[in-house]
């Protein structure tokens, strides 16, 4: 029987420190600041404390994930770290050894195959794509996809540099820190929870619409985004990918119970959904948004949203979930699955 993969457990880590949009806007040195809270739907987000960074967020997310998993760390065959920010010991960016090596050492999975990947906010879904392939081939039985995003420093950089309400750094103000982790395991094609990973495409002619890099003259990073162009490109390209992915899964858009897009802004998601519903001739049961309290947490955003819904016991057994990557590149990809056992790991037996 053909090997398939499924999500066995998930976990997250959110820093304690809460920063409101009003706090951030009040620090801007511009005369007429935008109403970011209304546009983005973000009221607050979490920022790392001094002793937290991408590495600690990732490790804590893995520990949370393993607390719901039937697997011990030593049973993990592979660790893929998908963070855009790869900070350890504060704002030091780690290139070699890769962050995944430190993570596997910390959690007690020293024999696991490990590497880092980078694919902007599509990182964790790309990690799922990779681990899914290794499991399908029978190379591994279990894999850990993990990310720790310490990106509040980009927001702090933007606060100091934004001079107009139309600044290309405005999107940086929506960012929040978080860690997320997933344990994936082997299953077979008869399992309705098996993942359908499809449509992963890089529309590379849009690669210059969002660029993030290390700051040269201050600690941390800087990100410049052409927001409107990026949004237009996403709306133009996403329906075709979604249509193909749904076709692959023998599902219509209306048969999706929870649609989890990348969490950027409530306005962008609402406008995007209106277009999707029109193009795909149907609408999902619920479009999951998780912006109000956590903001845009980059590659961890889908898992953080799924975690919240599971924790709040809002997802019914047998529901169809569709997670869609939309990331700088422009990267689009879909992960579709039916949820069952994952609900039980959150103590929801109903």
């Amino acid at each position: 029987m053909e090997n398939k993969s499924k999500i066995e457990s998930i976990g997250v880590k959110l820093p304690e420190r809460c920063v409101t949009t009003r706090d951030i806007i009040s620090k801007l040195k511009i005369f007429n600041p935008p109403n970011l809270e209304r546009i983005s739907g973000i009221k607050e987000r979490r920022f790392c404390a001094e002793n937290e960074d991408s590495y600690t967020l990732a490790v804590d997310a893995v520990k949370d994930c393993l607390s719901r998993s039937k697997y011990k760390p030593e049973a993990i065959d592979m660790v893929v770290c998908c963070s855009i920010s790869r900070n350890k010991d504060g704002l030091t960016t780690v290139f070699e050894p890769p962050l995944s090596l430190f993570i596997k050492e910390n959690i007690g999975a020293p024999k696991a195959l490990n590497f880092d990947i980078a694919n902007a906010c599509a990182g964790m879904l790309t990690g799922i794509y990779i681990v899914d392939s290794f499991i399908k081939q029978g190379i591994i039985k279990t894999g850990l996809v993990v990310s720790g995003e310490y990106i509040s420093n980009l927001s702090e950089t933007a606060v100091n540099r934004i001079r107009t309400a139309t600044s290309s750094q405005l999107a940086s103000l929506t960012l929040g820190d978080a860690g997320a982790a997933i344990v994936m395991e082997k299953t077979d094609q008869s399992d309705s929870q098996a993942l359908k990973v499809s449509g992963f495409t890089t529309f590379s002619h849009y690669n210059n619409l969002c660029i993030g890099r290390q700051c040269h003259t201050s600690p941390g990073g800087i990100m410049n985004t052409k927001r409107r162009k990026l949004h237009s490109a996403a709306i133009l390209e996403l329906p075709k990918i979604l249509k193909a992915a749904l076709l692959d899964s023998n599902l219509s858009f209306s048969q999706i119970d929870y649609f989890i897009p990348h969490q950027t802004s409530i306005t962008a998601i609402k406008v995007g959904m209106q277009k999707m519903v029109k193009k795909l001739k149907g609408s999902p049961g619920e479009t999951v948004t998780n912006l109000e309290r956590f903001g845009n947490t980059a590659s961890t955003s889908h898992i953080l949203a799924l975690h919240r819904y599971l924790q709040e016991k809002r997802i019914k057994k047998g529901s169809n979930i569709l997670m869609t990557a939309l990331a700088s590149g422009l990267v689009i990809g879909c992960v579709i699955f039916s949820i069952k056992d994952l609900i039980l790991t959150y103590g929801n037996t109903n």
């Binding site: 030091t92 430190f102 902007a120 290794f134 190379i139 529309f203 690669n207 290390q214 193909a244 422009l330």
Partner: protein
């Protein structure tokens, strides 16, 4: 079913002045275009592009460097025919980072996707350049790019076995980090290699080779050629001095500096047309990276 190397190509800058900022994506794209031309392919036939380079111009974090390379080689939805391709034929790209071992990790991933029938052409590209000349310490890698095109092979042909080991006790022997210098008020790339790193790499590589051979019930006499990482400097020579491996190890040098992630592909390109390579049946790729992590892959022609 294994995965075959269709072509390999390298690219070097047309100049190599000290302090000049080379463009990592342009360099990688040059190697990729060269390999695509050698394979007589259209860029739009590439279904996956994985970049395994570490050090890049300006320390760009997003988008993935692979997306920029993909655009430069025109492997995008419009391809060179200016006609939109159907979703299933489009290209997916991302970066995979694991020092010198990323090269074999990427091959293993593409091999898996090819085995599942979901992929027919893949390319691995890699380039390392000094991100910001003048703002690094200990950076000695050559500005070199390499690209490898992979295609499905027959049963027991191409890359057929993979192995990987980690030696965490050596994790501090080589590090590459970007730190903010308060005194200079600048971000600095600092590469720190201890004096014992080379010895540790030799020991780990040799141990991994032996373990790989034993696991796959092979003898070192079954192996005709060994293509190793070319860094740390002195590693290929040292491996070649181990009696069982003597005469099998490919050593490639360039006056541009040390070969980092492009090392194995660079070495392969240098011997691609040689009699030694033509005669070889079983080739062992052995990579080593900070961690220390080793990766071994058996390639059968």
């Amino acid at each position: 079913m294994g995965t075959l190397i269709e072509t390999v190509a390298i690219a070097t800058p047309s100049y190599n002045q000290i302090g000049v900022q080379h463009n990592s994506t342009k360099l990688a794209a040059d190697a990729a275009i060269h390999s695509i031309q050698k394979a007589n392919l259209n860029p739009e036939q590439i279904e996956i592009l994985i970049n395994t380079g570490i050090y890049r111009t300006d320390n760009i974090g997003e988008p993935a460097m692979a997306a920029v390379i993909q655009d430069l080689i025109k492997a995008h939805p419009f391809g060179i025919k200016k006609k939109r391709l159907p979703p299933k034929n489009q290209t997916f790209s991302f970066d995979l980072m694991n020092g010198g071992c990323g090269f074999i990790n990427a091959i293993q991933l593409i091999d898996g996707l090819m085995n599942s029938g979901s992929l027919h052409k893949g390319i691995i590209v890699t380039a390392d350049v000094e991100p910001r000349p003048g703002f690094s310490e200990g950076y000695s890698f050559a500005p070199i790019a390499a690209a490898l095109i992979l295609k499905p092979g027959k049963k027991n042909q191409g890359f057929i076995q993979f192995g990987s080991d980690t030696y965490l006790e050596y994790k501090d022997r080589f590090t590459g980090q970007l730190v903010f210098s308060k005194s200079r008020q600048k971000s600095l790339l600092i590469l720190d290699q201890t004096e014992t790193y080379l010895d540790a790499c030799i020991r780990c590589s040799n141990e991994s080779i032996n373990k790989f051979l034993e696991t796959n019930k092979l003898n070192i006499n079954d192996i005709d050629l060994i293509i190793p990482s070319q860094t740390p400097q002195g590693l290929p020579d040292a491996l070649n001095q181990i009696s069982a491996l003597e005469g099998k190890v490919v050593i490639a040098n360039t006056d541009l500096g040390e070969l980092h992630t492009a090392g194995p592909a660079f070495a392969l390109e240098k011997i691609w047309s040689s009699q030694q390579y033509n005669k070889a049946q079983n080739i062992l790729f052995v990579t080593v990276s900070a961690g220390i992590t080793t990766a071994v892959a058996l390639y059968r022609k």
